[in-house]
């Protein structure tokens, strides 16, 4: 810890907390609400210029160069990031729903494994292969999971659907023929409020037969 941080004692801003602990799954840690608006929190922010870094990310087999803060999550880059060329990344399929790794709405694949993009710092995604829901189809040819979701009406409002699609595809990457119980386990990190689960289970079974 730096002297400055020591002086602040128990007052921790999200940014300083991240600096102190380094990177990892603390991205969604929030400032205790008692500190919001407090003098300590303000002090932690004031005169503390935000440093940024320019990083490269491989998303859906395309390289993006983005400027990020240490605290910037992968999800923020996907949804709100701007490439240094000036184009918005604008991959808004992954959603921010719970903001703390509970609902799976932001699920993407990192090197083939499903990851909560709200819980991963953008800088930690460097050098990895990121696949979002937008990158699953091969041109007009939908991924079998996508086809099956349409066929079985495994979606209603559709807000959780990108997360479920990516989680289902990642599940089938690891387990070609999952049982119903294995499907439930594989998708247990995703939440749907419309209640589409029964048809999601059907869709994953259908997709597994086609893959």
């Amino acid at each position: 810890m730096s002297d400055k941080e020591k002086k602040q004692g128990t007052s921790i801003s999200r940014r300083n907390f991240l600096k102190g602990v380094g990177t990892g799954t603390v991205a969604a840690t929030v400032v205790p609400s008692v500190l919001i608006g407090s003098e300590e929190a303000a002090e932690a922010q004031a005169g503390d210029a935000i440093s940024t870094a320019t990083i490269q990310l491989n998303i859906n087999e395309k390289m993006y160069e983005v400027e990020v803060e240490a605290r910037t999550t992968l999800l923020t880059v996907l949804r709100d990031g701007t490439d240094t060329s000036g184009d918005n990344v604008d991959l808004t399929g992954a959603k921010l729903i719970c903001d703390r790794g509970e609902c799976g709405g932001c699920t993407v694949m990192v090197d083939g494994k499903s990851v909560y993009a709200c819980m991963m710092l953008a800088i930690d995604a460097q050098g990895k292969k990121i696949t979002t829901v937008e990158g699953l189809a091969n041109g007009d040819d939908l991924h079998p999971v996508q086809e099956a979701f349409i066929q079985h009406d495994a979606l209603m409002c559709g807000f959780c659907t990108p997360g479920f699609i990516v989680s289902s595809a990642a599940l089938l990457n690891e387990n070609k023929k999952p049982t119903l119980e294995e499907i439930k386990t594989g998708l247990s990190g995703n939440t749907c409020r419309c209640g589409t689960y029964p048809f999601i289970f059907d869709a994953v079974k259908t997709a597994s037969r086609k893959m």
């Binding site: 949804r79 729903i97 509970e102 709405g105 996508q146 979606l155 209603m156 659907t161 689960y197 029964p198």
Partner: protein
């Protein structure tokens, strides 16, 4: 007389059709309000109260304003005014990034003088409670009293009586897309709003009134919407705040609620407490019902519920009050008042049946005048295997005990007037159907396509459906009350029929046949008396030249019907050592009139059952009486059903007639009662309070032993 025709004649209506928005939703292309990114767009955030009740003594926004990247800070409460619940708005910021907006919120200093609060019904009703609503003595509204028959005579006639208290807690909607807007002013007189709403025209009119504009100067767009369940009507404070921030900065502003905000201020299902005394005759007739109850909708009213529910009681007295607490306001939530009422009534029915020594299903048959549900009782009992249930509750052997229960529900869903629509046939053969409704996930976009395609002999994918935009100026009501399909479908049907008639008139001379002899085939038009005279749809439309056909429709009462009866049967398994409750199977039989799209109707029924399941076994807003805060305003501690909770669900679309009835709400009504009765049948001890969590089950089992 208008009609949907016979089922045997329908090519598309009543079949299983995949939804038109499917591809956009599975590829991530579907753009929700939350996904809208406008050039130069700013991000809005709202600073909210962390205390339940306080007077605002001062708000200092200077540090927030000085933060680089902050473009506007506005107060949302006047100094000296009272904050009345956690989450109430204090100030708002707009900044270049969402992270900066978050930082800026933390730099706003608020000076509060805290006042005594009450956040539970019991605390609010206590003699010593501080009065938190000046117009409600004892924090309670004037009682709503209803009397019928002769209560005393009813109890005299009763052979058995039950006296019990039933309680359901406050639930929150948990819309996965939080409430929010993207607002962009084109100039001082015109603005566009992308809104996560169940009613684009309601939002449009609210904005127009608020900013003193003509309605057509405000455009509201809701292409896709991530869940509302009754909580998303009107722009709310957050919508007007976004518009104000946008007006001040001259930039588009996106302001979506946080997950915590969503729990605190975006609506909830009120709680319900019923103290009931009821009696039945020896031959199984409900004869007397005396209920004193209350509920809280937060600081507002609206905590009503129907009682008695579904079953007829000739002699009754009911008395209900609203209780005010320092918590966010209730909003309509999927079948407002009904699931909690059904839980209490169906529990009571089983308790009375047991005292009579009668099968609870038989007791319902005697007291339920609804013929549709009578048929559903028979079908449901077969589907679940009712004969397998414990004749003596709790008599199963082993640690894990199974049981079965039944519950009932009733809803309207008949739709109403007020929808305008146009169906347009262009000379290139394309067809557009435009109306001002919105597809909030129910699949009405596809329903519209099916109806037009059926009428014109085309495929649903041939129809370009435009909904969720106020700009064409074709009005429709909000999507609530299970009213969307029964309101929209008749207008679309008559518009498509009128467009077809116009097309027939235009091509009849070419086919040398009377207009009345023309029919649509599949992608063709032919003369019924001479099938050699058949032309393709494209050939027919090609006759239109530069003049498209564009026809409106009208709402026709004969095409829809009010009244949706439902019955559900549940089988559960209770681990008597851990208290863990597993719902094994739900049979949901839902009366829905004519199901335009059987596939999406099944989805609606599944969804209703799962929301009812959440209410039955998981969901509860937990308030801390000491701090006045909600303890579970997130998705870790406020549990909604996930994959592991999902039982086998047999959704039976019980289409009893050929008229359209809305079915968005009714399937969530019977579920909690059916599950609670199944738990009783499994363990032989009654739990009268939702949710049915392991702690309650273990406590009940322990009390039974003692």
């Amino acid at each position: 007389m208008a009609s949907w025709g016979e089922a045997s004649e329908s090519r598309l209506i009543g079949k299983r059709i995949t939804r038109l928005s499917g591809k956009d939703k599975v590829t991530g292309k579907a753009k929700y309000t939350f996904d809208i990114n406008r050039p130069g767009m700013l991000y809005g955030r709202i600073l909210r109260s962390e205390v339940a009740r306080a007077t605002v003594m001062g708000v200092d926004t200077s540090e927030a304003e000085a933060l680089p990247g902050v473009k506007a800070v506005i107060p949302l409460i006047e100094i000296g005014n009272q904050l009345r619940y956690q989450g109430q708005e204090i100030a708002a910021v707009a900044a270049e990034t969402d992270d900066i907006a978050k930082d800026a919120i933390r730099l706003i200093h608020v000076d509060l003088e805290e006042l005594p609060h009450v956040v539970t019904e019991a605390d609010a009703m206590a003699d010593s409670a501080p009065q938190i609503r000046e117009d409600w003595a004892g924090n309670q509204s004037e009682p709503n009293i209803r009397e019928d028959g002769n209560l005393q005579a009813g109890f005299t006639e009763a052979a058995v009586e039950v006296e019990a208290t039933y309680h359901t807690p406050v639930q929150t909607h948990v819309c996965l897309e939080t409430h929010g807007h993207v607002v962009e002013w084109e100039d001082e007189q015109n603005l566009t709003i992308w809104a996560s709403t169940q009613g684009v025209f309601g939002v449009r009119n609210d904005f127009a009134q608020h900013f003193e504009l003509a309605p057509n100067q405000v455009r509201v767009i809701t292409e896709h919407m991530g869940g509302g369940f009754g909580s998303k009507f009107g722009p709310g404070i957050e919508g007007r705040t976004a518009a104000e921030l946008s007006r001040i900065t001259g930039k588009a502003v996106k302001l979506m609620l946080t997950r915590k905000d969503e729990h605190l201020v975006a609506g909830n299902r009120p709680s319900m407490t019923q103290n009931v005394r009821a009696g039945a005759t020896r031959d199984g007739r409900l004869i007397a019902y005396d209920m004193k109850g209350h509920g809280t909708g937060g600081i507002s009213s609206g905590a009503g519920f129907p009682a008695p529910y579904v079953y007829h009681v000739p002699n009754l007295r009911t008395e209900r009050v609203n209780v005010a607490v320092n918590a966010g306001n209730q909003r309509a939530m999927r079948a407002p008042g009904h699931p909690q009422a059904a839980f209490a009534m169906d529990s009571l029915m089983d308790e009375l049946a047991e005292k009579l020594g009668m099968n609870p299903l038989e007791f319902r048959r005697i007291n339920d005048a609804n013929e549709v549900r009578q048929a559903q009782y028979t079908l449901g009992a077969q589907e679940i295997g009712w004969q397998r249930r414990n004749n003596v509750p709790g008599s199963g052997s082993g640690v894990k005990k199974r049981g079965m229960g039944v519950g009932s529900g009733q809803w309207g869903g008949g739709g109403g007037r007020g929808t305008e629509a146009r169906v347009t046939i262009n000379s290139d053969g394309t067809v557009e159907a435009v109306t001002g409704t919105q597809d909030i996930g129910t699949g009405v976009r596809t329903v519209i396509a099916i109806i037009v395609a059926e009428e014109l002999g085309l495929a649903p994918t041939d129809i370009m459906v435009k909904v969720g935009d106020s700009q064409p100026g074709l009005q429709s009501g909000g999507s609530g009350g299970s009213q969307t399909t029964p309101s929209v479908a008749p207008v679309i049907k008559t518009a498509a029929a009128a467009a077809k008639q116009k097309l027939f008139e235009r091509i009849a001379p070419m086919l040398e046949a009377p207009v009345g002899d023309l029919r649509v085939g599949t992608g063709t038009i032919y003369v019924v008396s001479d099938r050699t005279k058949t032309i393709t749809w494209e050939q027919a439309a090609g006759q239109l030249g530069m003049e498209s056909i564009s026809e409106g429709g009208h709402w026709d009462e004969e095409l829809r019907q009010n009244g949706a009866a439902g019955t559900q049967f549940a089988e559960v398994e209770v681990d008597t050592q851990t208290g863990a409750l597993k719902v094994i199977k739900i049979v949901a039989i839902q009366d829905c009139g004519l199901a335009i799209n059987r596939l999406t109707t099944e989805s609606q029924v599944n969804g209703g059952v799962i929301m009812g399941l959440g209410q039955a076994i998981l969901e509860e807003r937990v308030m801390d009486p000491v701090t006045g805060r909600m303890l579970n305003a997130n998705l870790e501690d406020y549990k909604v059903p996930g994959t592991f909770e999902i039982p086998e669900i047999k959704s039976i679309v019980f289409d009893t007639h050929r008229r359209v009835t809305g079915v968005g709400e009714p399937p969530c009504i019977p579920t909690p009662g059916a599950i609670a009765n199944a738990v009783y049948n499994a363990i032989g001890v009654r739990i009268r309070e939702l949710p049915l969590t392991p702690d309650k089950i273990l406590t009940a089992l322990a009390e039974k032993k003692a």
